[in-house]
Symmetry: D2
Amino acid sequence: MTSREASEKEAGAPPPLGIGMIGYSFMGAAHSQGWRTAGHVFDLPMRPHLAAICGRDETAVRTAADKLGWAAAETDWRELIARDDVQLVDICTPGDSHAEIAIAALEAGKHVLCEKPLANSVAEAEAMVRAAEAARSRGQLAMVGFNYRRVPAISYARKLIEEGRLGALRHVRVTYLQDWLVDAEFPLTWRLKREHAGSGALGDLGAHIVDLAQFLAGEPLVGVSAMTETFVRERPLLSGTSAGLSATGGAQTGPVTVDDAALFTGRLASGALASFEATRMAAGRKNALRLEINGEHGSLAFDLERLNELSFHDQSEPAVTAGFRRILVTESEHPYLDAWWPPGHGLGYEHTFVHQAKDLVEAIAAGTDPAPSFADGLQVQRVLAAVEESAEKNAIYTPVPAPSGIES
Amino acid sequence: MTSREASEKEAGAPPPLGIGMIGYSFMGAAHSQGWRTAGHVFDLPMRPHLAAICGRDETAVRTAADKLGWAAAETDWRELIARDDVQLVDICTPGDSHAEIAIAALEAGKHVLCEKPLANSVAEAEAMVRAAEAARSRGQLAMVGFNYRRVPAISYARKLIEEGRLGALRHVRVTYLQDWLVDAEFPLTWRLKREHAGSGALGDLGAHIVDLAQFLAGEPLVGVSAMTETFVRERPLLSGTSAGLSATGGAQTGPVTVDDAALFTGRLASGALASFEATRMAAGRKNALRLEINGEHGSLAFDLERLNELSFHDQSEPAVTAGFRRILVTESEHPYLDAWWPPGHGLGYEHTFVHQAKDLVEAIAAGTDPAPSFADGLQVQRVLAAVEESAEKNAIYTPVPAPSGIES
Amino acid sequence: MTSREASEKEAGAPPPLGIGMIGYSFMGAAHSQGWRTAGHVFDLPMRPHLAAICGRDETAVRTAADKLGWAAAETDWRELIARDDVQLVDICTPGDSHAEIAIAALEAGKHVLCEKPLANSVAEAEAMVRAAEAARSRGQLAMVGFNYRRVPAISYARKLIEEGRLGALRHVRVTYLQDWLVDAEFPLTWRLKREHAGSGALGDLGAHIVDLAQFLAGEPLVGVSAMTETFVRERPLLSGTSAGLSATGGAQTGPVTVDDAALFTGRLASGALASFEATRMAAGRKNALRLEINGEHGSLAFDLERLNELSFHDQSEPAVTAGFRRILVTESEHPYLDAWWPPGHGLGYEHTFVHQAKDLVEAIAAGTDPAPSFADGLQVQRVLAAVEESAEKNAIYTPVPAPSGIES
Amino acid sequence: MTSREASEKEAGAPPPLGIGMIGYSFMGAAHSQGWRTAGHVFDLPMRPHLAAICGRDETAVRTAADKLGWAAAETDWRELIARDDVQLVDICTPGDSHAEIAIAALEAGKHVLCEKPLANSVAEAEAMVRAAEAARSRGQLAMVGFNYRRVPAISYARKLIEEGRLGALRHVRVTYLQDWLVDAEFPLTWRLKREHAGSGALGDLGAHIVDLAQFLAGEPLVGVSAMTETFVRERPLLSGTSAGLSATGGAQTGPVTVDDAALFTGRLASGALASFEATRMAAGRKNALRLEINGEHGSLAFDLERLNELSFHDQSEPAVTAGFRRILVTESEHPYLDAWWPPGHGLGYEHTFVHQAKDLVEAIAAGTDPAPSFADGLQVQRVLAAVEESAEKNAIYTPVPAPSGIES
């Protein structure tokens, strides 16, 4: 009997929560790190057990299982869902398969964590919300993976806004700038095809910033005006494998069927103005999710490339000593930080997945609703749909249907 | 005979250029500093002579003349224009008087420097361009005061773009954020009344960033989509005097008839996307004219609050050593810098007016066309008009009439 | 048979490497994260097995074992060393016990990883080096835990210097500023007592920056001149528990017997000047390990509070476009990064321990000498001793004995 | 009668103060800008009149007089001092002539402004202080040109420290990094010769940071430990002219007889530790006068390359919202700023000379003692002498004689 087994028996150790994950590339690796780590850092009410991982290529998925620490491997997602040792299905596949898998998993009595964007269309997302609501009555939970809500600086920004430190909001401006498509020779991966990705920078990056804007403001967008553009319309067909966001291409080309960039403005329910830019064509910007929020009592600014920092300006300070403060969000009183390192010892990107795992496990154990919900994911989808509609109609201001309520 | 007079006689010293300036508040003080200083720093072909200043209040204008270094004071701008010792009329009044004064000065045979925005309407601006063209044939020059083109970092950014260091442009994003209207008690100055100011943040701040975007890109905006907002719609009536951008208010209130903020997107002639935000409601941002331009070969970024710096990313560098460089634009090879101080000894805001004076004096002496021209000012006016039209029409994409050509 | 076991049998899976760790507070938690994670991110030739953890308090160590993922718990470090399933002993205790444990472990035939500083005195460190040399001949390896060498930006900085991108070095300046002792009420923990900690900021923070200066420059310090100071000489005695760097104190006080700050200058073997400051009294600085190195061909700058960034100035660039570049050290070509996330998705503090685990496992599998060696740790100890000697002798320049050679 | 003459008669206009300046290169140009501008920006009790400038080369000094705006030119400084229209002698020559000229000017009944460093030796500085004291009794004032005290951010930092916002000081660290000597081909100008410059980086840059450290702390250094170094010991002899800090060299070489870099530590009277580094060999650093001061209640940081900003950390803030604030020192309540531009419209390097002129004119009109006094300059000289002595004696801690009192 190992020490762990012994102490579990003695101490009434936390019961296991079996995880089954579908997909094992970039997001799969990041989620694995979250599941593996959460219980060793936080005191969780249930112990995540990495039960099984699923992918279509048997050799590859088996290698991934070993590398990433999963106990078993499956090649058919329906088999994964059916496993007795899986209580939670974690969906890390491209967006076109989210609806089918999530609905099946919910119907099979499993909790579901689904990567963002929730789906590739509003209709799919609506079906997923209905399935989640039905499952909720049976005690199953569903959550969408907008992981950036769990950057401590972002969580703390939301807290400051909730406490009224900014007062009535005037401006929300968010950009998400990357540059991996600047090179016209970068090949046609699935992320550049409408049938798999739904959209381009809009769904991939824009979904994040729409969710963050609404999450931080605590209110939905009510309308948008948009332009989108595809600067490089033909790219080499993919040859060989792709990993993360990198890939190599061959001699033949094919059409890019998604946007390279999306630029949109909007109004929040309170009347605040919002501006958004999502692009993969900003040379030198690697992961520049930058946001600034201005209110009548203060302002906040954040840059994902410096994710341990939050800038805060308090308008009530005397003008002579006022200024944006660089808060290192690494104090033990900051969200999630009491479980990590001393002040100034920063966290990284993957910690958002550890926090996501922790929060979801706690919600499951407590039977409370995790956020962001599928309804939150649907609301983002409706904004993205309005953006696409506006972009097709000469940027005309396009209302976003009211959500049942942004749950946060 | 003073040393100067003696040496002028001997050396064939530069002839004087008589300046007559109308207006003596913030812009008047800044222009005065430019005219007083340019000849002592640069070797100019003509020597600016601060001949006369004009304002309606006799005591105030006389005090200003003494303080700011003008030889004489006038209370009627027509008298100022008529003076024999005035060859150049410098217009620093609110926008509603620009057209009348500029046209009269040109018709009186004077060169004209007119503060931005060129006018309060496209019609006025067109009349001014016609007057400038007529005067040009008589050898008189006209220039509009978009002084930020003459921040060395901006001048140098234009040079890098002209040289092709960025390649085809993809994105231009510019914000101009101030916060002096965050306080709802700030009173109704002329800048908040449509009849004097034409518009609010749009004409005051937006005009600058539209000009800079077109100047830097070297191409015009062809269409825009816009939202504007007035967050504080009633403000205390002005009591007492205002200075610079500060003022005090009384107990009665009146309506704000201009925008507090303008948010717009657009397309440049080449197809690049552009985004703009002008606001006076961004708590903590004092003069945050921030711009970033992304091209296929590189990117540039600038912040007016750190005006001696230019950030440059060169996409042709190996990825391992690539990154935005912080160029201190204080080397003697940088624009205007050979006349100033050693590297690292930075310049300030007012130096833009010294450079403006230098460039205009040189253009007058050489008989060449100064930039930005009245036609450039008209082009900005047309963009602002399209912004207002789009904002009234649900943000619909609104074309900007083609310019005769952006002169830079 | 689990998937892992099956595939291990089939594929000739990597053999396990049993780890035994002594100490389970801040450093213990960080090392655990390193051992748990390394094999799931990097393709390692041996699989770290968290065999056993050791601490004096049986309940506490058992709880730590469960939380941190160790298979067994011990309360006597001699028992831990004796375990058959432990091949590598990882020492995370205060410095006063390093020598005894490390020498015993080496004599027992185990590999050793020892936290920094290597020891509390030169004599202890020398004995450890002798033990390591004797063990080396039996195939055992020893390494000291200067983890900051494995921040990717630091590793890459070393590479740039090795490649000659800076040319002959002129200046190395390093500060390590923290502020957890600013509050005079912070209690007397073991870190403030000479008998346990050896010294204060000097051994804790100064050891890191002396190692980094020598590692990056690739040459040893040959002499130093120093001042030290204890600003708060009495502190409350510890009451209750301490965690990480935080603790609470009672009403009685006792003397602080270590330095609060150490300030020293030095010369490197090449003649370059170096300056150092280590303090826990710099209000607002949480973990400000800042370094800058100037050479005849360029400069590098780094700040641990922004650990994903490296600033690089290349003196061979034309002056007009030269400037410090902000390199995001997150490209797949950067050290350690090919195993992590896409560009711009930054790492955190604890990743240094993952990299340390990876490098040590690879060295053990290959039978090569890991760096930093115990000899490197001794060399740091000699510098610290010279610093203390100089500080006692009116800052007189004090030579540092020549090392057998800095291995890097 | 001009407007100015008329209004002067009417209004009892301020009387003139005749300035005579010796030297017309970099410092001469900067001081001229100060004298020309101060009265047009600030309401001064006396009107600076640029009476005469002095240099040895008749043609060059006459050209400089015209360019810089001086009414007359002299080639013998004794003639300049003797002029009736000169009440204040401004000494902008190399340090070896400061004592002789200043003493002669004071003995001739003139006020004196002397560029820093006050002299090339303690003995000279002492003689100057004695002359200044004798002159003081006759109503003449003497001031040394440590212009950086008059950067608004520095003035305001002193105010915050005086108000106790930092509490007892713990650390003062200041570097002044430039790079114009990195190139070994830069020629032997007067600044590299001991007989003219007294010392190298130490007197040129070190004098500034010693003065700032003592000014900001409000207390003197009581002892220092130092190292100096000359990395490039032979340089090309000067050929042709030099301007500012740039120059060109010929084929022959000569010895550099001053330091390239000086590195020293010290103790302030209160027991705070201080560290200093002055170098002209820091590739990529153009004018990096960087300082940070840590006290028990807070910290301040400043960088001359961003001179409109001051960073302030208030230790009394709750840890969750604490952080260094970036204060834009451009509010009308900040020192000197009410006379300049609206918030966010920054100043430059030369404004320090405008402020210096203003403060000295006001002191002369009021008959109060200006700061920094010659005694302050002497105190800096004593520190520099102790630095040189320590550097010659193996960095031994070397006491600085107590000043009669640092006047600020």
